[in-house]
Amino acid sequence: MLQDPVRSEELVVGDVVSAGDGFVGRTPWQLFWRRFKRDRVALAGGIIIICLIAIAILAPLIAKLVGHGPNELFDSATNEFGLPIGPSSKFWFGADRPGRDVFVRTIYGARTSLTVAFVATGLATLIGVTLGVVAGYFKGVTDTIISRFIDMILSLPLLLFALGISAACSISKTGCLAGLIRPGLRLVVSVIALFTWPYIARIVRGQVLSLREREFIEASRSMGAGGLRIMRAEILPNLAAPIIVYTTLIIPSNILFEAALSFLGVGIPQTTPSWGRMLADASNSQLFTYAWWMMLFPGLFLLMTTLAFNLVGDGLRDALDPRTGGDI
């Protein structure tokens, strides 16, 4: 991570400090960006992610262009035995058993995965950073409580819990907590956020523990700054880099977590396309031995997405850490 802590005032991109002849100083962010640009693979990952976001946003438009909705059923897409047709001029990625367009559903599946990626992970980050900073800064009893809490959640069997909660909240009409927890994307996002914030909290807490001993924090304190101000203005900015990196690296496992939950049939109703659910439908009675397209396309997209986030996360980490090799 950043070796030399910087003060918040210096984090302005574009500040070029000229000092004498020939030397061009650059802000840490500019340095980071140059390093990141050099990493071709990470850039490729970044472009893939941008494309995916574009596809997700434009999904309804694409569906309109193709002429098939994500939940529209086509009798012509299945034969008399209910078996779907493969990739054709009308159905680019083929159809599935109820007769839906796999291409359109794959595009819409990007929405689900990206929602999980950004919303669930965002929530996890929010909770994790808050609790991590509080634990690391205040130490003592607060730290102990929060740390034990983190340990507890980290030791829970994720999948079993998620399955249990989803199953228990599926039975009644209102779900759990008076309608707050109902099967669907909301439940999946909540479960994922609830179980992954400890990772971030732990890392943040470790960073804060070392940061708070620095001289500039002492200086702030001696100038009369309260705990909250120090956390907000001094500590948080220095955490920006690790937060960004670890958040990006957690996204792939969250996406796969949602895919796993959907694969196991808990959480998202069929009307919200999800790559995990599409993979499950394909493996029902080994349908993919006949309808290979039902498995190939969602699988490929899932692979591409997680790979892209992994590459970008790796690239971010390398670019933000001046210690790892490579020239500027």
């Binding site: 990493d39 693979v41 990470a42 939940n71 059923l73 009798d75 299945t78 034969n79 008399e80 035995f81 209910g82 078996l83 058993r97 109820p98 007769g99 839906r100 199953a167 599926s170 039975i171 009644s172 009409k173 209102t174 099967p183 669907g184 049939g265 109703p269 069929q270 009307t271 439908d281 029902n284 009675s285 080994q286 349908l287 993919f288 031995t289 006949y290 290979w292 498995m295 190939l296 699988g299 692979l303 790979l307 992994n310 590459l311 790796d314 690239g315 390398d318």
Partner: protein, 620 residues
């Protein structure tokens, strides 16, 4: 650079995994076999596999209430009356089994007397003659609540002195055993389908000296069933019944692995006109991979399937091949698959809404999702063709191509109080968040999108909830406020025996409504008192009842009874409208060329294990 190698590595791994996945997919080899027109061969084993036994009563005959359980019992147990194990109406007509004839009925219809054939013995390790007292003991077990009988309602209140009680089996005043070969039943009221109730496995003779050891937990006797039929559970002869403590489960039955039946040495073919018992035994193993089961059948390592619906790829393979077609056996069961609507949950408490739903559902799409016409006939009314057959012409909500009719559905919806603006769609807020209950396995999940889309056409926006089969049933069979589901597509109902009342009382009578475990999911006939007692809201408009119609039919016999129940079906479809019947199921069984004699057991709705023959020479 190191990073490139890492990414390359990731890419390679990904592609390798894809390739491995593709390579691991088995290709189903088509196998053309020799046509088998040979005479039935004796011996060999029927080797089959199933994804799970699916027992609801742990295989103890007193409470096992599944059709698959009933079919296994056709090999293991004998009852006073039983069936020939053939297809069609002939397979639903009770025949004497342990009894010498169909019994004598008194003129007032209240006393039934049966004489037992002589020389029928229990299998090892009991090895003694079966007596009327053993049959009576089976009835005593039914009334012992700790043993959890599941169809006691066929006997409680019907046979004098029979009522469920806490505590161990005790004497029943209405069943007399004047001598070991005679049994007399005293009824409280004439019940013309009573003889058929004596064909159910819970009434098969049970040796008290063994069963008395199984009081807790319920179902324990299922591990040590003593045979009265042509076959016994493998390992039965090794069980030590000298004391309760010494009894160990028979090795041939492992609920998670297999059920192996071998010949019962004490079975005398001359006393049994109903069972051919060609095979030397049955080997039913558990294989959770359904596709694997059908692969093995086409390769010949299994002789045939059991209850699993063949996946559509298998259906297509066999139906389109002239050489394989003969190995696909399609027989109608006595089963209706249906969508049930709860009469007390808005908007389904309005008959116009229920009728609109009947008009809009695309039944042809549902049939396709199941695998096409081989899997069943689209249902136009409630009772399947084998029961009080109204015939395919009676289809009050029939639509062109069975695709549903939007205009008719809208016309019906416009008359509903939930469509005050007469738009043809439900506009009441209560329609915006209805839960549709479903099973979480194929093909139910494949039929779901069609039903969801159909309901949306008339303004009912459902959120589908998919649950495991048992959990889905438990959700709709309990009558508790707050957990009432408005509409569910998971249930199917099969007749317990060949009388149309099996499609009436348990499904639509108010006395069938119990707080937990009811089969009257629609709550037809729910009374105000029941609603208060069970804690559910009684709708202001009341709940339609079918009690008087059912009670009018019960005392009738013969052709009158048939006509009465046909009218009852019409009354349900036109006035009460509790269901949308989807289709009447066929059982599709795939066999391999090793099966030399095939028979379908209409009673259970599956292959007649007691009457098939195989050419393999394998020991069980």
């Amino acid at each position: 650079m190191e990073r490139y190698r890492r990414s390359l590595g990731l890419l390679c791994l990904g592609s390798i995994l894809l390739v491995v996945a593709a390579a691991c997919t088995k290709s189903t080899g088509g196998g053309g076999g020799n046509t088998t027109s040979a005479a039935p061969t004796k011996g060999g084993t029927y080797r089959s596999a199933t994804s799970s036994f699916g027992f609801v009563g742990a295989f103890d005959p007193v409470g096992e209430y599944t059709a698959v359980g009933f079919e296994y019992y056709q090999m293991l147990l004998r009852t006073l009356l039983n069936y020939k194990g053939v297809a069609g109406a002939d397979g639903l007509t009770p025949q004497p089994d342990l009894a010498t004839d169909l019994g004598q009925v008194s003129s007032d219809g209240l006393t039934y007397t049966y004489h037992l054939k002589s020389g029928i013995k229990f299998g090892p390790p009991v090895n003694r003659d079966i007596t009327s007292q053993d049959i009576k003991y089976a009835f005593e077990r039914i009334d012992s609540k700790p043993l959890v009988a599941q169809y006691g309602f066929y006997y409680d209140g019907v046979i004098e002195g029979m009522a469920a009680h806490d505590g161990p089996p005790k004497d029943i005043s209405g069943i007399e055993t004047p001598d070991p070969q005679t049994i007399v039943f005293h009824l409280t009221t004439p019940t013309s389908d009573f003889p058929a109730r004596l064909s159910l496995a819970a009434t098969a003779p049970v040796p008290q000296e063994v069963a008395k050891c199984f009081t807790k937990p319920a179902g324990g006797y299922g591990n040590d069933i003593i045979s009265s039929g042509p076959y016994m559970i493998q390992g039965a002869d090794n069980v030590d019944i000298s004391s309760c403590k010494s009894i160990k489960p028979m090795s041939g039955y492992d609920p998670t692995a297999h059920l192996i039946l071998v010949r019962n040495p004490n079975w005398d073919q001359s006393t049994d006109t109903l069972r051919k018992a060609y095979v030397d035994g049955l080997n039913m193993s558990i294989d959770s991979n359904v596709d694997d089961i059908f692969n093995k059948i086409s390769q010949g390592s299994l002789d045939g399937s059991f209850y699993e619906i063949p996946p559509p790829t298998v259906l297509q393979k066999y139906a389109t091949s002239s050489s394989l077609k003969q190995y696909m056996h399609i027989d109608p069961q006595n089963t209706t698959y249906y969508i049930t609507m709860n009469l007390i949950v808005p908007p389904f408490d309005d008959v116009h809404v229920r009728k609109a739903v009947n008009w809009i559902i695309d039944k042809a799409a549902i049939q396709k999702a199941w695998g096409g016409p081989a899997t069943g006939t689209i249902a136009g009314h409630i009772m399947p063709p084998s029961m009080a057959a109204l015939g395919p012409d009676y289809n009050p909500y029939g639509t062109p191509g069975d695709h549903g009719d939007l205009a008719k559905a809208q016309a019906e919806m416009k008359q509903s109080k939930y469509d005050p603006g007469h738009t043809g769609k439900c506009t009441d807020p209560v329609c915006s968040n209805v839960i549709l209950l479903n099973r979480n396995i194929s093909p139910w999940t494949d039929a779901e999108p069609s039903i969801v889309a159909d309901l949306a056409k008339i303004g009912i926006n459902v959120e589908a909830r998919e649950l495991e089969s048992g959990a889905a049933y438990q959700t709709i069979d309990s009558v508790k406020d707050g957990s009432q589901i408005g509409i569910a597509m998971n249930p199917r109902w099969g007749a317990d025996y060949g009388d149309p009342n099996t499609f009436a009382q348990p499904l639509f009578s108010s006395q069938a409504i119990i707080p937990v475990g009811t089969s009257n999911y629609s709550l037809v006939g729910l009374t105000q008192e029941q609603a208060t007692k069970f804690g559910v809201t009684y709708p202001s408009g009341g709940v339609p009842s079918a009690d008087s119609q059912i009670n009018a039919c019960l005392p009738k016999t013969g052709a009158d009874r048939q006509t009465c129940f046909q009218d009852f079906d019409k009354y349900l479809m036109e006035q009460v409208v509790p269901w949308v019947p989807m289709f009447w199921a066929n059982q599709v069984t795939i066999t391999s060329p090793t099966v030399t004699a095939w028979s379908f057991d209409q009673f259970s709705g599956f292959i007649a294990l007691q009457n098939i023959a195989v050419s393999n020479k394998v020991a069980p």
